[in-house]
Amino acid sequence: MAKILVVDDEEHIRLLYSEELSEAGYEVITAADGYKLTERIEKEKPDLVILDIKMVDYNGLDLLQEIRNKFYNLPVILCTAYDTFKEDIKSIAADFYVIKSFDLTELKNKIAMALEAEIPST
């Protein structure tokens, strides 16, 4: 069972994602902010991270950079309420992005694609 870490400062989003993604067969853990995020990833070893871009005390794009520098192949999906973040070139370091919605169909599709992505070792 793939383990997903949801990082979002809105409690109702964390709850929604936890319920729906658990029902879809994933193990879900959550974080309410980006505090010591890379340490948490090191400890919990998630297979994928869903990251909110705009949190009260944290910029998701900066966290994405930290994750990408330390965990080269860890899939990260950015979640946002606005699509203006695409103006920031840092966003391309994410595997995918989704606009927040109560319908998680697109998010689930992107999770499946990101977890399926595979580059063989030589």
Binding site: Q65, K86, E87, I92, E118
Partner: protein, 432 residues
Amino acid sequence: MLVGSGEKPERAFMIIVAEEESLGGQKMFEHEVNPENIKKAEFVVAIPSYNEADSIAFPVQQADKGIQSFFGNRESVIINCDNNSNDGTKEIFLSIRSDTPKIYISTEPGIKGKGNNFRNLFKKIVDLDAKGVVVVDADLKSIMPNWIKHLGEPLFEDFGYVAPLYVRHKYDGTITNSIAYPLIRSLYGRRVRQPIGGDFGFWGKLAQIYLESDTWSDDVANFGIDIWMTTLAMNENVPICQAFMGRPKIHRPKDPGGDLGPMFRQVVGTIFNMMVEFYPFWSKVKWSKPTAIFGFGLGETEMPPPVKVDKEILFQRFHEGFDRYGRIWEKILQKETGNKLQEIREMDRERFDFPTHLWINVLIDFAIAYRDKLWGFDELLDSLIPIYLSKTLSFVIKTDRMSVREAEEFIEEECVQFEATKSLLIQRWNGR
């Protein structure tokens, strides 16, 4: 006489030096000029060239500033790897005042090709035992010292290959946008936006791998070199990142409708050839993964200068292709693909639309025809040009009112279609 920082090299100077080095009217050939007898260097900035006397001074000066500012604690050297230019490139390069030592190396007289320059460079990198190498084009007008930092620093951290990431005009780099980026991304699984960027960094130890590779070809010896190096790095599972350069790449502009022939053949031929060689690797790759991005904090991103496209020429060249290459297309394209091409042939120029799935099918058919040697390589690849130009026309029309960022989104969506069609490619490749 030295060409100092910011000075424009004088033509008269070039003529004097050229005369001084003449012997009975015949210019003396020197494979290497190493004025400071440099035997070892940890960091190398390399500038490949052929007849770049008018432009090489600026990138050398910027590279020197970059090395002194950001790599001052490392033994460094600037290498000009040249095709024995006859316009005084060597003399200008060696005369530029720099704090970093310089080495000039050249291919033998009569041996041309960017890839041949790189082969000399690889040997030199091995000799110097360099740890990190940054390459920048000799005709760059927008390079800044921190380009050297961004392309070089990741090499001393965890990354073995650093590809450039520039903001380019939506109509600049159309071979990259239509062929190189989507194909390389879907084949090898890494999202490297500029796989033939011309400015990049790599681990010195990759030089030996490049020298020993048995995939070297005439195309690689020319303009196929950039895509070859990127693809080999991916196949070696070298950790790759992209460095954001902050400024657009400004160099000699190329009109997408202009004469493409040799460069197109060499780049696309290299991609197809690597597909044949590396099938066991790419057939196992699913979807794609992004890379880390380096080089932020440069302030506002400069927008690239506009690139004008002559839509009429693109349209004409496509239509002429039916007469000129109809026999080839008939032989190598699947029947449905040929029929679809006939369909879009009837479209008006202003409403011209080349569907992405058709373009993917065309590329699959051409890659298989290349592998199976269904036609002579040069003519086969030349026959792809009119179709590629019509795909470019369609892109120009569809993105006409889009911003650079929106056009990027469009390309990303096309890439996802390439990745989603990978199973079709594998089926077709295996003759099913």
